[in-house]
Symmetry: C2
Subunit: 352 residues, 2 copies
């Protein structure tokens, strides 16, 4: 049933020309050709239902036109980013192979990397954090260009660039906002497992406290999956509870929703007594009630720059930053985050 597919040999025979000519016509190079051959070849190609075999073409051209992207997972933040990256790569004639490392599992990451290198991808995009040193060495020694995203403090010679979300700047801004809204104490609820991505937020939070916090009481907490209830209990038991409203910056919108739910469950009024800010501007931040203040992430900007840096290397095209102010000259590029204020919705309190 699976008939051998049509090749340029078939077309050449049917059209009475050489396979070189067929190839020339079908790829419209700068080679001059007669109108008639062009028409003849194109027609028979269409008639025979020809579809180019990309594997063969790539093998011959010594280029795969395939790019690899390894994200920690497909859910939430990274799913959106991956979708954006895929679209952008397509626009430039590349194929993007996306893999999830199953939540930063080094062995999965390694398997995918090996596979990608075996396929001779032209370039690789990796999460700067999840990358093990071993994996990195494999990539680098292979000579495959690498662009990191959300990777801080990597040696400059390893990657073409590190395109990072400015979690620190965003968190700073969030603290400023909470203080401005009258918060009398400040809490950061982080996720230590997220390592540097958490560290950046924390650094921004601390800087914010320093700059805007005066001598407001501060508390640092860590949320391990679903422990939002305990987080809130700790806040309630603490002295912070006496000086309301309490301002809480949470690792991401999902965790922020959990924290808010736990607060509501315990009878706290949001945002009267507790003001919460998430991070990511996930759709859920507006679907919940009250809606969450959050930090918006410019996925497409991040994707634009990551792809741009890669193509700059792969093709000749020099790449110019969409926003000149972002060009720090170094290899680490920071994507700004924007605060989305959503304090409007009324407060909320449980009934029984």
């Amino acid at each position: 049933m699976s008939k051998r597919s049509v090749t340029i040999v078939d077309i050449a025979e049917a059209a009475g020309v050489s396979i070189a000519t067929v190839s020339n016509v079908l790829n419209r190079r700068n080679v001059p050709m007669s109108e008639e051959t062009i028409r003849k070849v194109e027609d028979t190609a269409k008639q025979l239902g020809y579809r180019r075999n990309v594997m063969a073409a790539n093998l011959s051209r010594q280029k795969s036109y395939e790019l690899g992207l390894i994200v920690p997972s497909f859910t939430g933040y990274y799913g959106q980013f991956a979708e954006e990256m895929e679209r952008k790569a397509n626009e430039h004639g590349y194929h993007m192979s996306v893999f999830s490392a199953g939540g930063m599992k080094p062995e999965m990451e390694k398997r995918h990397l090996e596979m990608l290198l075996s396929r001779r991808v032209d370039g690789l995009f990796c999460h700067g954090l999840a990358m093990s040193h071993e994996s990195t060495r494999a990539v680098v020694s292979d000579g495959t260009p690498l662009v990191l995203f959300n990777g801080w403090g990597w040696p400059a010679d390893i990657a073409l660039a590190a395109v990072n979300l400015d979690f620190a700047g965003g968190s700073l801004e969030a603290v400023r906002h909470l203080v401005q809204q009258g918060c009398q104490s400040l809490v950061y609820v982080g996720r230590s497992k997220a390592l540097e991505v958490n560290g950046q937020r924390l650094a921004g939070f601390k800087k914010g406290v320093e700059q805007y916090g005066g001598d407001l009481p501060v508390m640092l907490l860590d949320i391990t999956d679903c422990a939002a209830d305990r987080i809130v209990d700790e806040v309630i038991r603490s002295s912070l509870h006496e000086t309301q409203p309490i301002g809480i910056l949470v690792f991401d919108d999902y965790a922020a929703l959990s924290v808010m739910s736990a607060a509501l469950k315990r009878g706290l009024r949001v945002p009267d007594q507790v003001k919460i800010s998430g991070i990511n501007n996930d759709p859920l931040s507006t679907a919940c009630y009250p809606a969450l203040t959050t930090l918006d992430i410019a996925y497409d900007l991040q994707a634009d720059i990551a792809i741009g840096k890669m193509l700059e290397r792969l093709e000749e095209k020099p790449f110019h930053m969409p926003d000149a102010s972002m060009d720090t000259g170094g290899q680490e590029i920071h994507i700004p985050m924007k605060l989305i204020q959503r304090e409007s919705s009324g407060a909320n309190v449980p009934t029984l």
Copy 2:
């Protein structure tokens, strides 16, 4: 900088054997070989840092070991499914190329399909709904095996199988549950743009009303992005408002959260006055307050069967259904959905 990579020719020379032998050793076929050659080849391969060129191998074998998956989007439901599919394919030695059709855009779907067929993927997994007839014809006429997911009523000769979530059965169950919880009226909030996926839910809802609803008043509504507020307004204005609690089944958890939020905003108590059930068992259904009752989706079961059906065709391996009861004999396979009850959390009412 990008040194030509090591090939089997290099290994052959260094080890003093033929490339055929190198290939034989590296692929451990049933060909008998001397221990010594094996060792020699393996050692030099390692030494030279050889990595097989999959493009070349595949071209030669006339097989790509690549599978294509086209989902409507990477977010929510389909992101999880894609991740599962990818993992499963890897387990069986295949590479899964996942593409998002940007929310069922036919032209994107077509572009991806063309690309996938050009790469000579061994098999294709497509959303049964988004597939245009034109695209389908291209796949079928190419002889590439196709497995549909969430596609109802397709002609049997087009795909190997259609692996569908049993939205109808799940919705039926949800209605039974709402009635059992004492609901005095029933509402279905659908998303008509989702076509058949919505239709299946609606059918299940109606059947549920028939079987368990007695003569309870019923209302059918449609949610266009973010119009949850208006949905709730309509319910409040209707006569349903007089006979509480109202039971609402919503298209998915995200929309269910929006509806719940809108209800809370208007002062309705959940779940006292309004009982809501979502679909998908998304993490957010437990992060919100009150937590949402929902229908769990067995992604990995769906992925198992989809991949199983494909491999049954691609390799010899006969595939046996994980659950014999699901084998309806036909090509349409239904993945059961399980109700997750979360009525426990206390009710909720806005303050001002």
